[in-house]
């Protein structure tokens, strides 16, 4: 029912507006024109709205990527408007239409579809937040140039016939071009001003587009010293307002989009933090690890006091490490490898010839890595492989081309089941924090994990 409500509003509201404009701006009206216009605008808006309400709803429920969804939606809109326009023109006006007209109508359809879609998604959002201006200046300059380009391209597509007319077209429409240029800039600053005054979305877009139209018109008139008469055709105001509205919406959508991305990043970031902190805490209080090792320590005291001392030192250093970098994302690779060595020494004391390990010494003191990641991988290795003295497990930690390569021979435990959550979590953290991926590989009977080594930017 909600969908139907949206649909009817989106069809009838523009229809009424267009009819009013047409009635106001035309003095004489032929019956044929009125019927054609009526059928055309009703049909046009129903098709576009059908796309932006029902088809969009259908596609959004599918698990496609964002890119696939949006291109499919735009394509269906384009094709349906194109077909509609083609059929209608064929039926009613048989001869005097051109393919470019249909093409431009379909393009217009896509634009209106995007606009409707935006308005609905803004209306659907329950809490509206103010947009922010956090990006670098270049981003906004790029945005404004893009708007001017798109506006011009659309304008050209809708009104012009073919590309060879580009130059005269430019010359004939200088005024519009200047207006586009000014309106995009003015829109940007009115949005900024209104955001500063804490206007919410709808009011902001409405006022900005109006303000942008008013000031841009004023600037254009003053700058080009055109004689301006108020009693011009009403349609020209509509076009001018549409240009301003387009610029405003474009900028606003961009800002909303940026804001959404930022919020998403923040959430993901927090999530990885929680993950890492959880691992850290888990290590700190891991009772299994603590009591098993105390047990080992006691047995060493009885039959090998010297070993008990070494073991005790390793154990205390490992715990000291757990307690030291609690919340840092990035840890020094050298320190981390020293810790891993001690961590492995604890296992070595317990399983003796069950496994062997090599850790590289050639570490740059400027190299960093994500906290807890190496230990998580080592834990993973011990979790999934047998420690057999006749066929010892071998673990190697080396550096190759800016990757820390951790490899082990594969000696799987019987009935072992792994869903790789540990490695997935490390990968997720790498992707979110530094936009890099870890590499997981099986070559022959070796299992290899490569972690990107991070460096401090100068």
């Amino acid at each position: 029912m909600v969908l139907f409500k949206k649909f009817s509003i989106l069809v009838f509201l523009p229809f009424i507006v267009i009819s009013l404009i047409e009635i106001l701006s035309r003095s004489s009206f032929s019956e044929f024109q009125a019927v054609f216009l009526g059928i055309f605008s009703i049909g046009f808006f129903s098709i576009v709205s059908l796309n932006s309400v029902y088809v969009a709803d259908y596609f959004l429920k599918k698990k496609f990527s964002f890119f696939k969804k949006s291109s499919l939606l735009i394509l269906t809109t384009f094709i349906s408007v194109f077909l509609f326009s083609y059929l209608l023109n064929n039926m009613l006006r048989s001869s005097d239409y051109r393919i470019t007209t249909i093409f431009s109508q379909a393009t217009l359809g896509v634009c209106i579809f995007l606009l409707e879609y935006l308005v609905m998604s803004v209306l659907d959002k329950k809490e509206t937040k103010l947009v922010e201006f956090h990006d670098r200046k270049q981003v906004y300059v790029f945005l404004l140039s893009l708007i001017i380009f798109v506006e011009f391209a659309l304008f050209f597509l809708i009104s012009s016939r073919d590309a060879s007319n580009l130059y005269p077209f430019l010359m004939n429409n200088k005024l519009i071009l200047i207006y586009m240029f000014i309106s995009s800039i003015v829109s940007f600053f009115t949005i900024r001003l209104l955001t500063y005054m804490k206007c919410n979305t709808i009011l902001n877009v409405f006022l900005s587009s109006l303000g942008s139209m008013f000031f841009s018109l004023l600037f254009t008139v003053v700058l080009t010293q055109t004689k301006f008469t108020l009693n011009k055709h009403f349609g020209i105001y509509l076009i001018i307002y549409l240009i301003s509205l387009f610029s405003t919406l474009f900028i606003y959508v961009f800002l909303l989009y940026k804001m959404q991305i930022r919020e998403k990043n923040v959430l993901n970031f927090k999530l990885t933090q929680k993950n890492a902190q959880y691992l850290e805490l888990k290590n700190q209080i891991n009772p299994h690890f603590l009591f098993n090792n105390l047990n080992t320590l006691i047995s060493f005291i009885e039959d090998n006091p010297q070993k008990a001392i070494e073991f005790g030192h390793n154990l205390s250093n490992v715990y000291r490490h757990y307690l030291s970098n609690h919340t840092d994302d990035f840890v020094n690779l050298k320190t981390e490898l020293n810790f891993i060595k001690e961590y492995l020494e604890i296992y070595k004391a317990k399983f003796e010839n069950g496994f062997t390990f090599i850790i590289t010494n050639e570490v740059d003191s400027n190299a960093f890595i994500l906290s807890v990641s190496i230990q998580e991988i080592i834990d993973n290795i011990f979790k999934h492989n047998c420690l057999d003295e006749d066929n010892p497990l071998s673990i190697k930690i080396q550096i190759e081309h800016n990757f820390l390569v951790i490899s082990n021979s594969i000696l799987p435990k019987k009935a072992d089941f792994s869903n790789n959550t540990g490695l997935d979590n490390i990968n997720k953290r790498y992707e979110l924090l530094v936009n890099r991926s870890i590499v997981i590989n099986t070559i022959g009977d070796e299992f290899i994990v490569k972690l990107p080594i991070l460096e401090i930017e100068s």
Binding site: V266, D329, V434, L454, I456
Partner: protein, 242 residues
Amino acid sequence: MTVIIIEDEIPAGIRLERLLKQHNFDVLTILKSVKKALVWLEENNHPDIVFMDIKLSDGTCFDILNHTKINSKIVFTTAFDEYALQAFNYNSIDYLLKPINEEKLERLISKMDSLQIGFQNQIRWESFNEKVTIESYLVSSGTNIKKIILDDVLFFYSENNATYISTKENRNFLINKSLDKIENETNSNTFFRINRKYIINKKYIHLVKKSTSIVLSLSNLESDFYEVSKSKTKKFIEWYGK
């Protein structure tokens, strides 16, 4: 060489005594509290070296150092005192971590001659129980990491439950710390929490205005004003005047 050990845990004291005896030191006594240590140091000639644990049953070893001048070389022993360790490293003072590693003890003994004697005149021992402030943060930047020196930070702010660093180049970086934590570990002479959302750097305060409340602007963002919350006004004026 003569040595005394100030240590409240009996087995730890015995172990250190044994290790030192193995290296031909003459351990005069093991003292278990601040009180006993002060009395002993009053009545006896000071030894060549004093090994002292930081946390004692009735206080810390810094209480001893504040009350009496010790004419001996001093080596601290500690199990886990984050702040003190940072301070030792910062002042390059020698210490041993418990459990005491024999190799490290030997290394320390071998360079015994270079150890300082006394040193209470140069050092404020009270500060050893305080944190050492952080000077830089590591943040992610593109596909690598970036070190942000606190001197280049305009302010820290929180938004939608996340914390950001804003630098003097006007770039913002996400950071994995709460404002409370940052407030805690940065130098309180330079950084001030003006309200729930902002910690600002004194170095970049450009203008302070007082109307109904205090507002201030940071040098290269003159259009933006930051309001000092009412409850912090008094503290802010005190801090700003320092």
